[in-house]
């Protein structure tokens, strides 16, 4: 197999943009949560929320693109159970790029802080201020994030295994490396 099948350029750009934002927002969330109250903490919370809403927006674009475009087929060598596992993991990751920012947005509302995207665009509070609901959403946000962490480990691990161990051009599928294999 010499020809490399790739995702379309918009799918590739959206994939890596989301990956980058998630890799910033996740550790930022863990870090800021432990800080004592300070102006820096307020700033980091805002940045985290702005990134989260941006992820939600890009996730919508991405889902719309995915629903209207067929991804490149997997190589024939991939066994059936791995294809099914891949579908499940991708499905859950799609779900989480919506569920995680949404749970954060709702949590912010429940804790009494409206989300104002980039300090300019106020998003509506979909639920009212409520201490109990706020705490429950904080738990949910955390649980969803650690679920995503596990899935991302599987996702990246699988891609690397196919690419480096099985010597399939997997990283090229997502736009890495040259277009044609030597």
């Amino acid at each position: 197999m010499t020809a490399v099948v790739r995702y379309s350029r918009p799918a590739v750009v959206l994939h890596w943009l989301l990956a980058l934002l998630i890799f910033v927002a996740f550790p930022l969330g863990l870090y800021m949560h432990e800080l004592p109250l300070s102006p820096d903490k307020l700033k980091l919370y805002s940045y985290h929320k702005w990134i989260g809403i941006t992820i939600l927006l890009l996730a919508s674009l991405r889902a719309a693109w995915r629903l209207t475009h067929t991804p490149p087929p997997l190589p024939d060598s991939i066994p059936g159970w791995q294809r099914r596992a891949s579908q499940v993991v991708h499905g859950l990751l799609y779900l989480l790029i919506f569920a995680i920012p949404l749970s954060g947005w709702l949590m912010s509302s429940a804790k009494g802080f409206q989300t104002v995207w980039f300090g300019v665009l106020p998003l509506p509070d979909l639920i009212g201020k409520d201490k109990g609901v706020g705490e429950a959403l904080a738990e949910a946000h955390e649980a969803l994030n650690f679920t995503m962490l596990g899935l991302v480990v599987l996702h990246v691990g699988a891609a690397l295994k196919h690419h480096f161990i099985e010597r399939q051009p997997f990283l090229q599928r997502m736009g890495l490396g040259r277009k044609e294999r030597a």
Partner: protein, 186 residues
């Protein structure tokens, strides 16, 4: 018939000036609120004080003679979140142990017409005094009247939010104060 009308008319004549001369001076705390709103990273945050002691005397017929003052218990703050309530007591914010109360004392009241007034006075927060002009709307009710208004003050004028908190890009300098004080004439 004629006689009872006359009696009624006499009552009406007697009662009219009395009704006009109600002096509102008994504050109804349960119907009164003192709140504020400020912006934090562009996000509007509402807060309030649950305990305050207002005193006022107001006769709509003689507004120049009116006076008002209020003492606010800093410990009763709701600054939007438990974390902020705790932080606000500290030395950089209200320094609650040294300055447990904030205060407003009116100096004079100027009628603007149409139940609107301009109340001049002094606000003291954290030991710092500032002259302010507060617009007040008088809303008469059946058994009680309310005095409502809103004005903006700058927190840094009072040293509220010093040191690292003096950065107004994070927590805005402007704080809008909103109040509604209900009082009866009894």
């Amino acid at each position: 018939m004629n006689r009872s009308l006359t009696v009624l008319a006499m009552f009406a004549v007697l009662a009219a000036p009395v009704a006009n001369a109600v002096e509102y001076r008994t504050v109804l705390p349960a119907q009164s609120t003192v709140g504020f709103e400020f912006r934090q990273m562009g996000v509007p945050v509402k807060g309030s004080f649950r305990r305050f002691t207002p005193q006022l005397r107001f006769d709509p017929a003689r507004p120049e003679a009116a006076s008002a003052q209020i003492e606010i218990d800093i410990a009763s703050i709701d600054a939007g979140s438990p974390e902020a309530n705790e932080e606000s007591a500290g030395r950089l914010w209200f320094d609650r142990n040294a300055y447990p109360h904030a205060q407003f004392v009116s100096s004079r009241i100027r009628p603007l017409g149409n139940s609107r007034y301009e109340m001049h006075g002094t606000i003291t927060i954290k030991g710092r005094r500032r002259e302010v002009v507060v617009p007040v709307i008088f809303v008469p009710g059946k058994n009680a009247a309310s005095f409502q208004g809103a004005f903006t003050l700058k927190r840094l004028d009072f040293g509220v939010g010093e040191g690292m908190w003096a950065d107004v890009a994070t927590v805005a300098n402007e704080v809008q104060v909103r109040f509604r004080i209900a009082a009866s004439g009894n």
